[in-house]
Symmetry: C2
Subunit: 270 residues, 2 copies
């Protein structure tokens, strides 16, 4: 199998995200190797040996996607045995021309710490943790969004993703069977924050499967129970005009991006 | 201020990550606007109006970074009032040539759901939540890594990032003052999993500041207490040969990438 290397003198997150996006268009499978923090000539030479070895072992020239700022390190990696793609160089020169300014490499700081955004994200993670699964509704004044839905519909991962990626204060509140004696009504604790509510729902078969892994053969996991809870929940969303999304076919990234697009919620961190 | 648009017919995460990386080299500030899920001609035309308006309002041509698969949508956005950069087109053709195959746009799936990785990440998030702050040490057999350190040294956000981004089962365990009556020793519950331990430490002044925001003027937040706890912790790391990192100047992304690089821990999700 051909290897794809993602190399940087920083986290290599950009190289990885963009390289993956490109390769996702191709029918091949690749052996993915990320190597962050290649900051010295010595380290770069070691990486080149690894690329060389991958070439020899597989007989296929590795793809080498890189976003390296240090000029010497970049030159070493570019001259290695792989097929080198310098992601930054391709766009930096045209941008310099358009903007009429030259880059300041020392200003570079993607995925590194920014005083302000650091605090914002850590605080948002703390908020999401403290406000998970219906805990601490007294915090809802500080919430940017409150995700609602039945158990295992994706509320917790989405809350945490919104916090970590965007610095958004996301609480989440579960509807349980106890809420559904008769028609599901909006709990009092949510009523006062109705404009912050966003609903999640999910396909009943998938929910059944997810819950079965947790508690197999339980009433909680039964298809009938899942269907009932989801029907009640979706009826509530419609009756109360609460925006909602069916998470069945979407990743956490997609659900989060859709929530932002639909609510117009402003991220606190870029 | 000039606007930078990040546009895609999917989440726009790739456009955002790569666009940000490029702009981080320039001294200017930009007004960042992300528009995901531009999937129809109608939506594309609306977006073009927004770009046009930004141009008129600011007098500066917006930068338009896009990763659009749909050919019609791409053409509309490319012909708008902004300076258009098609991130994918720049590299797809050279890659096709090198790999000797044509892309299959319908195969495209970055940041969308993959059956296998979905489960892995959600399970990893559940694991991190259940194993936060010393909870459930009985789970440590299933842990890929156990982060250790004093309160507020960055354990929880790092655990969650490792789970969400890489599908890694990360537990975390806090050292408290009670552990430090006399010399800090490795708690029994950690001894059996010593090869999974990774330590975090932090600058005493920053810890003092972070703790003061939480409980100002407390013993817990005092600089003296912070210095004592950090000294004991770092001594333990050195004595027991536990790898550790000082998180003071690093983002969650950097800490996570450094942990992966140093431990050789394999991510479960790409």
């Amino acid at each position: 199998m051909r290897s794809a290397f993602y190399i940087s003198d920083s986290t290599a997150i950009t190289a990885e995200v963009f390289g993956h996006a490109l390769l996702s268009f191709f029918p091949e499978e690749f052996n993915h190797v990320t190597i962050p923090f290649v900051e010295t000539i010595k380290k770069a030479q070691q990486v080149n040996k690894q690329i060389e070895k991958s070439f020899q072992d597989s007989g296929m020239r590795p793809l080498v996607f890189h976003t390296i700022v240090n000029a010497q390190v970049k030159e070493i990696i570019s001259s290695g045995a792989g097929i080198s793609y310098s992601f930054l160089d391709q766009f930096i020169a045209p941008l310099e021309k358009e903007l009429g300014v030259m880059v300041k490499p020392e200003k570079h700081r993607t995925h590194s710490i920014h005083e302000r955004t650091y605090d914002i994200r850590i605080q948002a993670v703390n908020f999401a943790m403290a406000s998970d699964d219906g805990a601490n509704p007294k915090n809802y004044d500080e919430a940017d969004i409150i995700l609602i839905g039945v158990s295992r519909s994706g509320k917790t991962p989405t809350s945490l993703y919104l916090a970590l990626q965007y610095g958004i204060n996301a609480a989440n509140y579960p509807f349980t069977e106890d809420d559904m004696v008769g028609e599901l009504k909006l709990p009092d604790v949510l009523h006062a924050h109705k404009e912050k509510l966003f609903g999640l729902t999910i396909n009943a078969n998938l929910l059944h499967q997810i819950r079965s892994e947790r508690r197999s053969n339980s009433r909680y996991a039964s298809i009938k129970q899942c269907q009932m809870e989801l029907k009640e929940t979706e009826n509530l969303y419609r009756r109360e005009n609460i925006p909602f999304i069916n998470s069945t076919r979407f990743s956490v990234e997609e659900i989060s991006a859709k929530i932002l697009a639909e609510t117009g919620l402003q991220r606190r961190k870029y």
